[in-house]
């Protein structure tokens, strides 16, 4: 009697093609699980995916919106790639983005109201960066000084930021011309970002993001601080041995990470909404989705362009799901979650291989 036995073995060198194919398979797995949900709802998943794909990537309308969503995703992801490189798990881009939005609103409606746009707009970006960075600084210092886990603190800071936005729009900043709706007044024209005509693409933010892609890449690869970040992220003991200052690394990566998320927040309120409003309207989870795009790009800033474009498309697809398929848009979050889970678990597939062995009868007796 022959028996088949399964054996799991460690793989030491992973060929390049496998490193490309495995994440794609992971995404396909997530897609097929969501397909089951479509089926339960009586929707043909193939047609649904075709529609989503077509609308998001093949129509001018879709691509325009896709780029609008890519802007905050790319900015947040660039920041996260720096933090993740240092093995610092900043889950707080969402809150840091909201702080940037608050900063922009403060400049636009209160601090610099009535100033010309060439003063207001740069001021919004600068203060947005500072607010986001300071918001991220708190978990960085807690980790540096008291070893507090940054995953928990950054996540919790998101809720504080959300409540802060709610407090402002229900309280002191509630609009005077908004019939008591919990939103602020509209930004004056000087505080509204210029758009590419015919779209909602606020090109100054897009420009900043695109310039930052090679800048962050070179920062991580070729600078002294980038080197310290890599060493610290890969082996904190060796970093200490080499005299690398832990607090300095933690503070720098969190300032960059939070600051870029803050800039994303400025873009959303000053470019699209023109007012501070409900947190869930300002950001449809960009700070969380950015975790996935960063992971998918293997922390490489250059690869962030395709991954954020793909996920921008998925968010547009979410609108399709909502409007055309009449499913709740939370299906998109479900999909995001499934992709992250499959990606993380597919990493294990890269490191191990499963072998089937045919075992003879004699062998089996020995162990019965």
């Amino acid at each position: 009697m022959k028996k088949i036995r399964i054996r799991v073995e460690r793989v030491y060198e992973v060929p390049l093609w496998l490193r490309i194919v495995i994440p794609i398979i992971a995404i396909l797995v997530a897609l097929s699980i969501v397909a089951i949900i479509f089926l339960i709802q009586g929707i043909n998943p193939i047609i649904a995916y075709a529609e989503i794909f077509h609308d998001a990537f093949l129509t001018t309308y879709g691509i325009k919106f896709n780029v609008v969503k890519l802007i905050p995703l790319l900015l947040c992801s660039l920041g996260l790639s720096v933090a993740f490189k240092a093995n610092v798990w900043n889950i707080g881009a969402e809150g840091q983005l909201l702080m940037g939005a608050i900063a922009a609103t403060w400049i636009a409606l209160f601090k610099l109201k009535g100033y010309p746009s060439y003063i207001v707009i740069p001021a919004m970006y600068v203060l947005g960066f500072i607010f986001g960075a300071l918001w991220a600084l708190i978990p960085a210092l807690l980790k540096a000084k008291f070893e507090v886990n940054e995953i928990i603190t950054t996540l919790m800071m998101n809720y504080i930021a959300m409540k802060l936005v709610l407090f402002l729009i229900y309280g002191p900043w509630r609009g005077t011309t908004t019939w008591k709706y919990p939103i602020t007044d509209e930004f004056p024209a000087e505080a509204q970002l210029p758009l590419i005509p015919g779209t909602l693409i606020h090109w100054p933010s897009l420009l900043i993001a695109l310039i930052l892609v090679p800048v962050i890449y070179l920062f991580l690869k070729k600078t002294k601080i980038g080197y310290e970040i890599s060493v610290f992220g890969l082996n904190p003991n060796a970093a200490r041995y080499a005299g690398i200052n832990k607090t300095k690394v933690l503070v720098i990566v969190m300032l960059i990470s939070g600051g870029l998320a803050g800039i994303a927040g400025v873009g959303e309120v000053a470019g699209i909404h023109h007012r501070l409003r409900y947190p869930s309207s300002i950001s449809s989870g960009y700070g969380y989705t950015a975790i996935i795009t960063t992971w998918l790009a293997k922390l490489n800033p250059l690869l962030l362009l395709p991954t954020t474009f793909f996920f921008g498309g998925l968010l547009v697809g979410g609108d399709v799901i909502k409007i055309d398929l009449r499913l709740p848009s939370s299906v998109v979050y479900l999909f995001n979650g499934l992709i992250l889970t499959s990606l993380v678990s597919s990493d294990i597939l890269l490191r191990y291989r499963i072998r089937l062995l045919v075992v003879g009868e004699e062998d089996d007796k020995c162990h019965s």
Partner: protein, 544 residues
């Protein structure tokens, strides 16, 4: 025998009919491949009843792989294994244990917070479910008397010395019925007297009918205790010789291969002697440690008032059983651990508690004990590892950017000078062998002519050739005028290299002796806490 209550050997009848010299384990044509390497290639090995059979070879020769196959940890790709004449296929160590095979690892896997008896009870399948410990305590007493493996069954494991832990691990395998024992480098962390105790116990065990496979790369030990010696090299068997007909020269030749021994094994040895004889012109004080107190990881005072100095052109050796405060002392000097009290000066500058960067900037080279944990970043390239301490300063970097073209030129130069073998400088260091890893660290630390070198167990885990290389480099550096602090538990190494030797025991120096007056036996006893008085040279009792 009481143990039969717990363990009924399925082959007790076979055992009673065995005579000395009968073959108990036979491994035929064992081949095992790991990705990229052939760990074992067509190896034949046999173990006879009542013998100590040593497996000798350099790191990576395939010793551990071979016994792991016998113990069921790995399965061979090819080859057959017979135990007591019966063909076996071990799927896991559980199968091997059932056939009476026991393995004692280099670092015994015991639970620190439990007592000795509790640890052993855990591994006994047939111990009573409720309150198993009292029975086991009796068993432990019975076994430890029989084989001279003294240990207190009620002691907590964390209180034990390395040697005692080893005894517990051996008792554990014996009590669970093992008659075939595999000891994997059992002497690595033992002091010389503890090592002698272990050898006595091993002799008692074979008298009582056990058969032992003894893995080592220390020639002296192997020649002293074994009946037969099998030498492996690069995954292949070189040959098996009986202890009587072998000599250190023969074994070295077998370990290193026919062509090499003259140039590497013995040649370097001579070069080393010459370097050593050049004599040392001691210069200025470089390192001064005065009345230093340092806390250990558990908040205990690990270093208790240590004072010494190291001068230019001198190797100051600190020898001691691991765990007597050496690690805390070194970490305090290099700035990785806070000193509680006392002063550390380098070239007259007080660097106490100034942190690692201050020490690096003083021109101190540090070869850490744990290379993988502290010395290297495995996922980074060789170049990135080589600049770990230099990346801050020109010409390695400007104000912001790294100077990559200079770095690669410099790395290629270092790789040539220190003979680091690798396909190219962008290979992550995790793909390098142990010897090459140490060369990367040495190249980095020695490349700027440091004035103080702190070498913490620099040859630990290295094979003969790599050990020779490291020792030769240290002597060269000394000749150049570096002050060297060498910390090791290897008494031979310390005596061979040092100009002055301090023995560290329980956080204090027992004594500091010049190398000329060092006597291995006395130093060995001092490592165990035996104190001698200067006036009368005889032992004056323990000072514990």
């Amino acid at each position: 025998m009481k143990s039969s209550k717990y363990y009924l050997s399925p082959f007790s009848q076979t055992l009673s009919s065995l005579k000395k010299g009968d073959i108990v384990v036979l491994m035929k044509g064992i081949t095992k491949r790991f990705p990229g390497v052939i760990a074992n290639y067509k190896i034949d090995f046999d173990l006879r009843y009542g013998e100590i059979h040593a497996l000798l070879g350099e790191n990576g020769a395939g010793k551990t792989t071979l016994v792991s196959i016998l113990y069921g940890i790995h399965q061979p790709d090819e080859g057959e294994i017979y135990v007591y004449g019966k063909r076996v296929h071990f799927r896991s160590p559980r199968d091997a244990i059932r056939m009476g095979i026991g393995m004692v690892h280099q670092h015994p896997r015991l639970i620190d917070t439990l007592t000795v008896a509790e640890n052993i009870a855990l591994s006994l399948k047939d111990a009573p479910f409720i309150n198993p410990v009292p029975n086991v305590e009796e068993l432990i007493k019975e076994y430890s008397e029989k084989y001279g493996l003294k240990v207190d069954p009620k002691a907590k494991v964390w209180q034990l010395s390395a040697g005692e832990k080893q005894r517990v691990a051996i008792l554990r395998t014996l009590i669970s019925g093992a008659k075939i024992l595999i000891l994997d480098e059992p002497t690595t962390s033992l002091s010389p007297p503890e090592r002698n105790d272990l050898f006595e116990a091993m002799k008692a065990l074979v008298e009582e009918g056990a058969s032992i496979i003894f893995i080592s790369h220390k020639l002296k030990e192997v020649l002293g205790i074994s009946d037969r010696i099998t030498v492996l090299r690069k995954g292949r068997k070189v040959g098996t010789v009986s202890a009587e007909e072998s000599s250190p020269e023969l074994l070295i030749k077998m370990m290193l291969g026919e062509s090499k021994p003259m140039s590497i094994g013995l040649g370097l040895g001579k070069a080393k002697d010459q370097l050593h004889k050049v004599g040392h012109k001691v210069g200025k004080k470089i390192l001064e440690v005065h009345n230093l107190y340092v806390l250990g990881d558990r908040g205990e005072v690990a270093v208790k008032g240590v004072s010494f100095e190291v001068r230019e052109g001198e190797i100051f050796g600190i020898v001691g059983v691991p765990g007597n405060g050496q690690r805390e002392l070194v970490e305090a000097i290099v700035g990785l651990r806070k000193a509680l009290k006392g002063v550390i000066r380098i070239s007259g500058v007080d660097i106490t508690n100034k942190g690692p960067l201050a020490v690096i900037n003083m021109g101190v080279a540090y070869i850490p004990e744990d290379r993988i944990k502290y010395g290297l970043v495995l996922d980074l390239t060789i170049a990135e590892n080589l600049i770990l301490k230099d990346y801050r300063r020109p010409p390695f970097s400007g104000r912001i950017m790294l100077n990559t073209s200079y770095i690669s030129k410099w790395c290629l130069d270092l790789m040539r000078r220190y003979d680091i073998k690798t396909p190219d400088i962008n290979t992550p260091v995790k793909y390098l062998s142990g010897g090459n890893l140490q060369r990367v660290i040495l190249a980095r630390e020695f490349s700027h002519n440091p004035k103080l070198i702190i070498a913490f167990r620099p040859t630990y885990g290295l094979d003969v050739a790599a050990t020779e290389y490291v020792q030769k480099l240290l002597l060269q550096e000394k000749q150049r005028g570096a002050a060297i602090l060498l910390i090791s538990e290897d008494l031979d190494e310390i005596i061979e290299l040092s100009d002055r030797i301090a023995v560290m025991f329980e956080g204090k120096f027992m004594d500091i002796v010049p190398a000329g007056r060092a006597d291995a036996e006395r130093l060995g006893l001092m490592m165990m806490g035996v104190r001698f008085h200067e006036e009368d040279k005889d032992t004056c009792g323990k000072s514990l």
